[in-house]
């Protein structure tokens, strides 16, 4: 069922929408349709005022944050096969790095420019990634898994207990928005007038300062996401990415072919950790408050779900997975509004996610949008490319290839 129909790709007209649709794999069509339905639903909810526009943007930002985390994990697990159970910890390091530098009740610094907080968050995450990588990346994959499992708890407990540095469980408040103090963007939300939109008579939607602030946040998220996606896409289609995938499939093979696998694993691990920290920095400026609860292991779990759901090794899949997980997590709050379900869906969201994973593993073990079939540096292939871009890869045995 996951097998892609062997269609010859006629690269007739790239700008013909019909041709694009022809080029889609069945699953891509289903997903496009689903995306359309979700968009319609959102418009409906926004239009009728059931979902506040500012809150929607906040959720969208959260989705982008999960997409970032998933891209980070994808570059570790999906590309290279590194098992990282510290997603929440690296996320937390980024968030705390930003919060401690900019928050109003930060016990350490506070009040710095958010750019500085961003750099500190990334720097800390990079240092810790290297520190945990040095002893474990030379060993078998399981050692990294165990070490990161421990690291996640160590970081969380450290933040919770070292009150003189982190404020403990009280968390850090008063984090400014990312653009605070910037020439134009800093003042933008306050300068924008309050708008009142009435789509349906009787219901007015008011766009205020919060809305414009969230709009800025979402733009920031899109910039982060776009940059990371671009970097990873290029990396994945390169000899570097090919080497990472070889390491994932069989590290000994890569070694025998003269590749210093330790170095490449370290690069992938640090890269992924930096992306996770970036998501954390974004979160700090989105939520304006961080506390050790944000580092709960459940975050790591959600991100793994997102990556597996989307398709390990696939950047598009990670993007999709990140948004889907947030949609389920937050959407379950609205489930009662959509249909007349006799029970409250919100407390069942973990069950829903579990069910989703079981279904994906059973019916589509390679994930919804598995990696592209052939990844060769684009300019090198030219017209020799046997297939169009972005097609699902037929996996030979259907199962997850790894361990």
């Amino acid at each position: 069922m996951g097998q892609q129909a062997g269609r010859e790709s006629e690269m007739s007209d790239r700008f013909d929408i019909g041709a694009y649709w022809e080029d889609f794999t069945p699953i891509e069509r289903v997903l496009t349709a689903a995306l359309g339905i979700v968009t319609l639903l959102l418009i409906l909810f926004l239009g009728t005022g059931r979902l506040g526009p500012s809150y929607f943007l906040f959720l969208f930002g959260l989705g982008g944050m999960y997409a970032l985390l998933s891209l980070g994990l994808n570059s570790q697990w999906g590309f290279t096969g590194l098992i990282n159970f510290s997603v929440a910890a690296f996320f937390g390091i980024g968030a705390y790095g930003a919060a401690l530098m900019t928050g109003s009740n930060s016990p350490i610094a506070g009040g710095f420019n958010p750019i500085f907080g961003l750099l500190i968050g990334l720097l800390l995450a990079g240092i810790i990634a290297v520190a945990i990588g040095i002893p474990t990346l030379r060993l078998r994959a399981d050692y990294l898994a165990i070490a990161t499992l421990g690291l996640a708890e160590v970081i969380r407990l450290f933040l919770q207990n070292e009150r003189q540095w982190t404020n403990g469980s009280a968390g850090i408040r008063g984090i400014p928005s990312f653009f605070e103090g910037w020439p134009i963007l800093g003042e933008f939300p306050r300068l924008m007038p309050g708008l009142e939109i009435g789509i349906i008579p009787g219901t007015a939607i008011v766009l205020e300062t919060t809305f414009w602030r969230q709009l800025l946040n979402v733009s920031l998220m899109l910039v982060f996401l776009g940059a990371v996606f671009f970097i990873l896409r290029r990396a994945q289609r390169s000899p570097w990415g090919r080497l990472q995938r070889t390491i994932r499939a069989d590290e000994d093979l890569a070694k025998a072919l003269g590749k210093n696998t330790y170095r490449y694993k370290m690069q992938a691990f640090v890269l992924g950790s930096l992306i996770m920290a970036l998501a954390g920095v974004f979160y700090a400026h989105l939520n304006l408050f961080v506390n050790p609860g944000d580092l709960d292991p459940i975050t790591t779990f959600y991100v793994w779900v997102a990556v597996i759901l989307g398709g390990s090794g696939s950047n598009r899949g990670a993007l999709l997975g990140g948004f889907v997980v947030v949609a389920i997590r937050e959407g379950s709050r609205f489930a009662n509004d959509i249909a007349f379900i006799p029970l409250d869906a919100a407390p069942l969201r973990l069950l829903l996610i579990g069910l989703l994973i079981v279904l994906v593993m059973r019916f589509r073990p390679q994930g919804l949008l598995p990696p592209q079939r052939e990844l060769i540096w684009p300019s090198a292939v030219g017209n020799k490319a046997p297939s169009g871009p972005d097609k699902g890869v037929p996996q030979s045995d259907g199962g997850d290839p790894n361990e």
């Binding site: 970097i231 290029r234 990396a235 390169s238 000899p239 570097w240 090919r242 080497l243 995938r245 070889t246 994932r248 499939a249 069989d250 000994d252 093979l253 890569a254 070694k255 025998a256 072919l257 003269g258 590749k259 210093n260 696998t261 490449y264 690069q267 890269l271 090794g313 990696p371 079939r373 052939e374 990844l375 060769i376 540096w377 684009p378 300019s379 090198a380 292939v381 030219g382 020799k384 046997p386 890869v393 037929p394 996996q395 030979s396 045995d397 290839p401 790894n402």
Partner: protein, 271 residues
């Protein structure tokens, strides 16, 4: 030990006599089991050297020791006049030694062409930073490598497999792909671990032809093989390992006639 040196000298007249790889007094044990027991031999530049021995003689361990996958407990390995003892596999490879594995390694989710592209050494695109600082250089190298891959695939007569998933190959095709990929690394010496195990006779002949062709073009081979016909026809000299050390070494005819080799294979000699 002295025996192998003598043999190396007697063989000297038939090739250039230049030693490309030398194993000296190599030792390795797993627990109480001495798997490699003071083994010494040399591989001459330009030769196809066979490495045979009964099951458990320590042939694969020897490959792992030479290529850096295992660390020896004593002795030394020299490749191209450099001491590579205790080096990491990638460092040994940098000295011109590439190996293959007994069971072909599959690269999940890649086409044959992609899997082959892992072979070439020192690709600029393997540096993460050059992907962004020198994309045109990466593209150029990639195009060159792609051309080389196509050329090598043609030479090995497997160009029709180029866009097949690398996991959908027969055992024999996989061995050919492995050999072809190893050649892309341009090794001085290639260590093949049972190249024709599980390969049908037609493909095995093809493999032998390829190995001869590559050898004539300058690659030295050290080959572990259980298929006696195959190795006796292909390799000269042949080194016999038994219980971790070199039992004897000589031309295929010498080996066939050697009583001690026959004993070792028949499970005599204190096994």
């Amino acid at each position: 030990m002295s025996e192998s040196t003598v043999n190396a000298q007697t063989n000297a007249h038939m090739s250039k006599g230049d030693v490309l790889m030398r194993v000296e007094d190599l030792q390795k044990s797993f627990g109480a089991l001495q798997v490699t027991d003071h083994a010494s031999f040399a591989v001459e530049r330009g030769s196809i050297t066979g490495l045979i021995g009964p099951n458990g003689a320590g042939k694969s361990t020897m490959f792992n020791l030479i290529s850096g996958f295992y660390q020896p407990e004593g002795g030394s390995v020299e490749v191209n006049d450099a001491d590579v003892t205790g080096m990491q596999p990638y460092e040994v490879a940098e000295h011109g030694l590439i190996r293959t594995f007994q069971t072909p390694r599959k690269v999940e989710g890649m086409t044959v062409r992609e899997a082959m592209l892992v072979g070439p050494q020192n690709q600029p695109g393997e540096s993460f930073f050059e992907l962004f600082t020198a994309p045109s250089r990466v593209g150029e190298a990639e195009r060159e490598n792609l051309d080389r891959v196509e050329q090598v695939l043609e030479e090995f007569e497997i160009d029709h497999l180029a866009t097949q998933p690398a996991t959908d190959l027969s055992g024999g095709q996989m061995k050919l792909v492995e050999l072809a990929r190893a050649m892309l690394a341009k090794p001085d010496i290639l260590l093949l671990d049972e190249p024709v195990a599980g390969v049908n006779p037609t493909l095995a002949n093809k493999l032998a032809d390829q190995i001869r062709r590559l050898n004539e073009a300058g690659t030295t081979f050290l080959i572990i093989e259980h298929d006696m016909d195959f190795i006796m026809n292909l390799a000269d000299p042949i080194i016999v390992l038994d219980q971790g050390s070199v039992l004897t070494e000589g031309t295929p005819d010498d080996i066939r006639a050697n009583e001690r080799v026959i004993d070792a294979y028949l499970g005599g000699g204190g096994a």
